[in-house]
C-alpha cells in the first residue's frame, strides 16, 4: 500500500488508512482540478515558444522627471493592442501645483494627443507628467475577486485576463484601485494592460517603452542581474502608487509627488 502510485509523498513509508485516503483523495481532486482549470500546456509556459516564464520576473519603471507628455505611448498602445476608443491601457496625467491652493490635474483623452499649453492663471510653481499603466501587483485585488479565475498572474509577474473564460461581471474593474481595467465594449470582457505579453515573451519591449522618446518608461527583468532597471531599483529612491493598500505594485516610480494617487 505504501507504494501506491497515487501517493505522491515519498516520506510516507507506512501509511495509515486515513492518511492514504486523504492523500489519494487530494491527489485525485488535484488532478481533476488541474484538468478542469488549466488550459493545455499552461504549466510549461507559452506553447511552442522559445520562452520559459520561470526565467523572468518583469517589472516596470517610470521616471516622472523625464516624461514630456507627448502621448506617443498612449497612441502606440492603442495601435499595438487595438484598445477601443474611450478606454485606456495606459495614460498620462498632468499635474500643475500652485504655491497655494488645490493642485490641478488633467488628462485630456488620456494624454493621447499630448497636452495643450497651460492657460490657467494659477501661479504654478511645480508641474510634471505621470504616465500610468496597470501596476501588475503581486497581491492584486483584481485577480483575487475574479469569480471564475479568468484573471490571473503569470509566473513571470504579469496580470492577464483570459478573454475566452471571462464572464464579464466587472468585479475586477471595481476592485482595481488604480482604474487600470475596463470592460471592452467589443468583447464584453474585462480588459487591461498585458505588458505587451505577446512582445515581451519574444524578446521585445512593450510598445510604450519602445516608443518613449525620453526613456521615461522602462521594462526590467528582476531575474537579470545586469538589467539597468534592477540597478535603479537597488540604488535609487523609488515609490509605488497607493502603497497603503498593500497590493505590492510591480510598477515603480522615480520622482513621485505626494499629490499622485
Amino acid at each position: 500500500m505504501s507504494k501506491h502510485p497515487n501517493c505522491r509523498n515519498p516520506r510516507h513509508d507506512k501509511v495509515s488508512r486515513r492518511e492514504f485516503l486523504r492523500t489519494t483523495g487530494s491527489a485525485v481532486a488535484g488532478a481533476c482540478a488541474v484538468v478542469l482549470v488549466l488550459p493545455e500546456g499552461s504549466a510549461e509556459g507559452v506553447e511552442g515558444a522559445d520562452y520559459d516564464w520561470n526565467q523572468h520576473r518583469w517589472v516596470y519603471l517610470v521616471d516622472t522627471t523625464a516624461c514630456i507628455g507627448c502621448g506617443s505611448c498612449v497612441r502606440a498602445c492603442r495601435a499595438e493592442n487595438a484598445v477601443p476608443e474611450g478606454m485606456y491601457r495606459t495614460w498620462i496625467e498632468r499635474y500643475e501645483i500652485p504655491a497655494e491652493g488645490e493642485a490641478l490635474v488633467d488628462s485630456p483623452s488620456g494624454g493621447e494627443q499630448g497636452f495643450a499649453p497651460v492657460t490657467s492663471s494659477l501661479n504654478v510653481r511645480k508641474a510634471f507628467f505621470v504616465p500610468k499603466i496597470c501596476n501588475h501587483c503581486l497581491e492584486t485585488p483584481c485577480t483575487q475577486v475574479c469569480p471564475v479565475g479568468a484573471s490571473f498572474s503569470t509566473r513571470d509577474g504579469v496580470v492577464l485576463v483570459d478573454q475566452e473564460h471571462c464572464i464579464g461581471c466587472g468585479y475586477c474593474v471595481q476592485a482595481c484601485p488604480y482604474g487600470s481595467r475596463y470592460i471592452n465594449p467589443t468583447t464584453h470582457t474585462a480588459d487591461k494592460c498585458t505588458l505587451c505579453y505577446h512582445r515581451i515573451t519574444k524578446g521585445h519591449k512593450t510598445a510604450c517603452v519602445e516608443i518613449c522618446p525620453v526613456g521615461a518608461r522602462q521594462l526590467g527583468d528582476r531575474n537579470d542581474p545586469y538589467d539597468p532597471v534592477n540597478e535603479i531599483l537597488a540604488t535609487r529612491r523609488v515609490q509605488v502608487l497607493q502603497p497603503e493598500l498593500l497590493t505590492r505594485p510591480q510598477c515603480y516610480y522615480l520622482g513621485l509627488d505626494m499629490e499622485v494617487r
Binding site: L36, V37, M87, Y88, W91, E93, V105, D106, S107, S109, G110, K132, P141, T143, Q144, V145, C146, P147, V148, G149, A150, H165, C166, I167, G168, C169, G170, Y171, V173, Q174, A175, C176, P177, Y178, G179, S180, R181, Y182, I183, T187, H188, T189, L245, R261
Partner: protein, 393 residues
C-alpha cells in the same frame, strides 16, 4: 452622450459598469430574505400572529427568488459563460460562492414549499381530472399519504427546513453586502458594516412587501385583514427599520467625524450627486417619515381603528420599499460616481429607458414575481386553508 464630469477622473473611471441590474439584484434577494423571515417566524418560532401569512410569505419568497438571478444574467458580458462560476470557481473571490449559496437556498426553499403544500397538492390531484390531475400527481412525487401522522412529519420537516433556511437566507443576502464591503479600492463600499446594513434593510423590505401584498390580496379576495398580523408585522418592521437606519447613519457619522481622506469624496457625494436619493429618499422620505408612522401604529395600537392601522402601515411600507431601493441605488451607483483618483466625480447617472440594462428591463424583471405569485395562488391557494379552520401548517 458623454457624462458631465468635475475634477480629475482616471480615464477608465467615467463608466458605470455596475448598472441598474446590480441595484435590482440585492433588492430582490433582500425581498426574498425578508419574506422568508416572516414565514419562518411562524414555521420555526410558532408565532401564531403570522399564521395568516405563513404560506403566503413562503410563496412570495419563492416567486422572487425565481427571478433573482435574472438581473445578474442580463448584466454579464457573457451570460452563456455564467456556469463558469460553478465549474471553475476561484475561491479567493467573494463572488465564487454565489452559485453554491444560491442553488442550495433555492433547493431548501423548494423543499419547504413542497412540504407545506403537499396535502393541498394531493387534494387537488384527487379532486381533478385529465391533465390537471396528471400535473398534480407529478407534483406530489408519488407520495399520497395524508394521514395525520404523515402531516405531523410534514410539519416537523417544514420546521427543520425553515430553520436551515434562516441562516441560508441571511447568507445569501449578507453575502451581497460582503461583495461590496470587501472592496478596499472603494471607500464608499469598504466597511464591515455593509453586510449588516444589507441584512437589516433586507428584513425591512421583505416585511414591507408582505404588508402591502397581504392587504392587497385580502382586498382582492374579499377576506378580512387580520389585525394581529398587521400589528405584529408593523412591530417587526419598526424594529428592523430602526436597526437599519441606525447602521446607515452610524457609517456616515463615523466617516464624517473621522474626516479622513475618504470623507472628502463621500461628503461631496452625499451632498451633491446623491443629495436627492440619499438625503431626501433614504433618510427623510423613506426613513424619518415611516419611522414616525410606524411609531404611531406600534405605540397607539390599542386605540387605533383597523382601517387607520392598515392605511398607516401600508403607507409606511410603500415608503420603506422605496427607501431600500434608494439605499441599494446609493450604494451601487453612488460607489461609481467618483473616481478612484479621489479627485473627480461624475455629475449624474440616469439609466436609459430602453437600453439592455435600462429601466424597462428592470421593471420587467421586477414585474415577473408578481405574475408568478398570481399563478402560484391559482395553483396552490395560500389563504384558503384559513377558511377551512387551518389545522394545516
Amino acid at each position: 452622450m458623454f457624462p458631465e464630469l468635475t475634477g480629475y477622473l482616471f480615464p477608465n473611471d467615467v463608466h458605470i459598469h455596475w448598472s441598474l441590474m446590480i441595484v435590482m439584484y440585492p433588492y430582490i434577494t433582500g425581498l426574498v430574505a425578508g419574506a422568508f423571515l416572516v414565514s419562518s417566524l411562524y414555521h420555526v418560532f410558532g408565532r401564531e400572529e403570522f399564521k395568516p401569512l405563513g404560506r403566503f410569505a413562503l410563496a412570495t419568497a419563492l416567486c422572487f427568488l425565481a427571478v433573482a438571478g435574472l438581473p445578474l444574467l442580463n448584466h454579464l458580458g457573457h451570460p452563456e459563460r455564467a456556469i463558469n462560476i460553478v465549474v471553475t470557481p476561484n475561491f479567493t473571490s467573494a463572488m465564487a460562492g454565489f452559485g453554491i449559496i444560491f442553488a442550495s437556498y433555492f433547493i431548501v426553499l423548494l423543499f419547504e414549499v413542497w412540504f407545506v403544500f403537499r396535502v393541498d397538492i394531493i387534494d387537488t390531484a384527487a379532486r381533478s381530472r385529465g391533465l390537471k390531475r396528471w400535473v398534480f400527481s407529478v407534483l406530489a412525487l408519488g407520495v399520497y399519504d395524508t394521514s395525520p401522522e404523515a402531516q405531523a412529519v410534514d410539519k416537523r420537516i417544514t420546521r427543520i427546513l425553515a430553520a436551515i433556511g434562516i441562516p441560508m437566507a441571511c447568507l445569501l443576502h449578507g453575502y451581497v453586502g460582503f461583495l461590496f464591503g470587501a472592496v478596499k479600492a472603494n471607500p464608499w463600499w469598504s466597511t464591515p458594516l455593509m453586510p449588516v446594513i444589507f441584512l437589516f434593510s433586507a428584513m425591512v423590505s421583505g416585511i414591507a412587501l408582505l404588508i402591502v401584498l397581504y392587504q392587497i390580496a385580502m382586498k382582492l379576495k374579499g377576506m378580512a385583514i387580520d389585525r394581529d398580523a398587521i400589528a405584529a408585522m408593523s412591530r417587526w418592521l419598526w424594529l428592523f427599520m430602526i436597526m437599519s437606519l441606525t447602521m446607515e447613519l452610524l457609517e456616515i457619522m463615523m466617516l464624517a467625524y473621522e474626516s479622513a481622506e475618504e470623507w472628502e469624496v463621500i461628503g461631496h457625494l452625499l451632498t451633491h450627486q446623491l443629495s436627492f436619493s440619499f438625503i431626501s429618499l433614504q433618510m427623510v422620505g423613506g426613513g424619518l417619515v415611516p419611522l414616525i408612522l410606524l411609531a404611531i401604529v406600534v405605540l397607539m395600537d390599542r386605540y387605533m381603528d383597523d382601517r387607520i392601522r392598515n392605511t398607516l402601515s401600508m403607507i409606511a411600507s410603500l415608503l420603506l420599499l422605496l427607501q431600500v431601493l434608494s439605499m441599494r441605488w446609493n450604494v451601487v451607483i453612488g460607489g461609481q460616481m467618483f473616481s478612484k483618483s479621489m479627485m473627480g466625480f461624475r455629475e449624474a447617472y440616469v439609466p436609459g429607458m430602453f437600453e439592455k440594462e435600462g429601466i424597462l428591463a428592470a421593471a420587467l424583471i421586477l414585474f415577473i414575481p408578481f405574475v408568478l405569485l398570481v399563478i402560484f395562488e391559482r395553483v396552490l391557494p395560500t389563504f384558503s386553508h384559513l377558511d377551512r379552520g387551518g389545522e394545516l401548517s
